[in-house]
């Protein structure tokens, strides 16, 4: 498996979150989250299903509103941002969805062109084609360019989803369960792709997962979300060197060698 070997700039925070709270009715999902993501860093957020991992990145990308707290992304206050500024900020953030969220009425080419032609005006046909082919090459799926999403496998859909976010050259990548529902070999391919994206596109990433293999392969730092708060943060081995039964249980139930 490829290991991530990139430089992290600890002097520059690309995401800074303080005291973030979010509830759905009476259910308090996030209860005071503090988080910093540094330039060039891959941060893995671990946690069981329903602990609010996806909610966290949806707040970062402005898809959900925080109830309380500060969320600063690339110098912008996401909680009090205007629609226009949010639109502008989102062009600098890539979001890879759990189910890929490919536009199923469009071919792979049209999927990739969709954000490109709407965000970069005055691009010529030749330039668009080159950019589409370049990102498809980066995810190793140039041959699928004219296929429909329904004709792709789960792993291919994930990679096309990542390619679609890369086409705008984002500074931050948010991965929501990148290896969920994939076989072990494809999981390794996706993990390698996440590391390659970091190296080739110089992104900072938050990777939401409950797959410890993915966490170990891609994360510079791991944060464990339990009861709406980060209970443990640090290197992978540091996080699991604990007597906390919940953390140990999480580790033991993952089939990691």
């Amino acid at each position: 498996m490829e290991q991530n070997k990139h430089e992290i700039d600890y002097s520059e925070k690309v995401i800074s979150i303080k005291g973030l709270e979010k509830s759905f009715g009476d259910y308090h999902v996030l209860r005071g989250i503090d988080l910093d993501l540094y330039k060039g860093e891959n941060l893995v957020v671990l946690g069981r299903s329903g602990t609010g991992k996806s909610v966290l990145i949806k707040i970062i990308s402005g898809l959900l509103k925080a109830d309380r707290g500060d969320v600063n992304v690339l110098g912008q206050d996401v909680v009090n941002i205007t629609t226009e500024d949010l639109q502008e900020l989102r062009r600098r953030i890539g979001f890879s969805f759990q189910n890929s969220a490919l536009y199923d009425s469009m071919t792979v080419r049209k999927n990739l062109e969709f954000p490109l032609v709407r965000n970069r005006k005055n691009l010529r046909r030749k330039e668009i084609d080159e950019m589409v082919e370049r990102v498809l090459d980066a995810v190793g799926l140039k041959q699928t360019i004219n296929q429909m999403p329904a004709e792709l496998s789960g792993g291919q859909r994930k990679r096309i989803g990542i390619a679609r976010t890369l086409i705008l050259r984002p500074e931050i990548m948010l991965y929501d369960e990148p290896t969920a529902g994939l076989d072990p070999i494809t999981c390794i391919e996706i993990n390698n792709l996440i590391n390659r994206v970091q190296e080739n596109f110089n992104t900072s990433s938050i990777i939401i997962t409950h797959d410890l293999t993915c966490a170990k392969a891609t994360g510079d730092r791991v944060a464990m979300l339990l009861d709406g708060q980060f209970q443990r943060q640090g290197k992978f081995d540091e996080v699991f060197a604990t007597d906390d039964e919940r953390v140990k249980q999480f580790y033991n139930y993952n089939f990691i060698q």
Binding site: R90, F95, R164
Partner: protein, 269 residues
């Protein structure tokens, strides 16, 4: 089942109190109002999705032609056939073209077209946008810095508003042919005489009101389908519910609008 469990099941199935349902109704009305306002705010500012608008006009218009043709022809034929006995009693069968033209051009053509479109187009808009909502495709568009409301909602509402009046006029003309078949067989009237008699009682206001009415119907079908799809809840059941609800609500509103517009047109006639 023990008492505690049966109580909780009953509580879960119980309807919310009337006050909460009343409040929810007004919240829904406010949401619809905001949705419509958002349409007017976003539909006429860049980026304009001309290609998608033409595609949707084709989907809604051209693909409905066969259905509209068949129903229009049948409506014209049946209406003429059913009117004949009554007029025959008074020896007034020569009035059939005029009667058919007034009934079809003023009321039946826009109404039949709207009801067919509500079923065919409204449900497909609700299902399409709804499935995009539940599979996070709309979220994916939003986070990529594009404007899904413009691309999905504004385009479809504009397409229905533009296309349904054209379909309604076409429906009326086909219904005229259906009526002619009956008149030609029974009276042996020539086509040119029939057409002349058909258009004689119609004034500019009839065409004007029919077109405006069809535009209102088209807007309603588009906005209801889009609203239901845009706000559909998770899962395939949510998509089905959105599609179904889009049809029922649009049809209901079309009838209400028909009554109001007929009343208003009456004042100008």
């Amino acid at each position: 089942m023990d008492t505690k469990n049966s109580t909780s099941v009953l509580a879960a199935n119980a309807k919310p109190p009337a006050s909460r349902r009343f409040a929810k109704f007004f919240t829904d009305v406010y949401d619809v109002y905001r949705f419509i306002v958002r349409f007017f705010k976003e539909a006429f500012v860049p980026p304009y999705e001309f290609k998608e608008l033409i595609k949707q006009c084709y989907e809604i218009g051209v693909r409905s032609f066969l259905l509209i043709s068949v129903t229009g022809f049948i409506v014209g034929l049946i209406f003429t056939k059913q009117s004949r006995p009554s007029l025959l009693q008074f020896g007034a069968t020569s009035w059939i073209p005029s009667l058919v033209s007034i009934a079809i051009m003023r009321a039946l053509a826009p109404l039949v077209t709207a009801l067919i479109s509500a079923g065919r187009v409204g449900s497909s808009i609700g299902a399409e946008i709804g499935s995009m909502r539940v599979t996070e495709q709309i979220d994916a568009m939003e986070v990529s810095g594009t404007k899904p409301f413009n691309y999905l909602v504004c385009v479809r509402v504009l397409a229905t508003t533009i296309t349904i009046p054209i379909l309604a006029i076409y429906n009326g003309l086909v219904a005229m042919l259906g009526g002619y078949l009956n008149v030609a067989v029974n009276e042996g009237t020539s086509f040119s005489t029939y057409v002349q008699q058909f258009f004689q009682p119609l004034g500019f206001i009839d065409f004007e009101s029919s077109i405006i009415k069809s535009m209102v119907f088209g807007f309603t079908i588009g906005i209801v389908g889009s609203y239901k799809g845009w706000n559909s809840s998770s899962g395939t059941a949510g998509v089905g519910k959105a599609a179904n609800s889009a049809v029922v609500t649009a049809m209901f509103l079309v009838f209400i609008e028909e009554v109001i517009i007929v009343q208003i047109t009456g004042w100008f006639r």
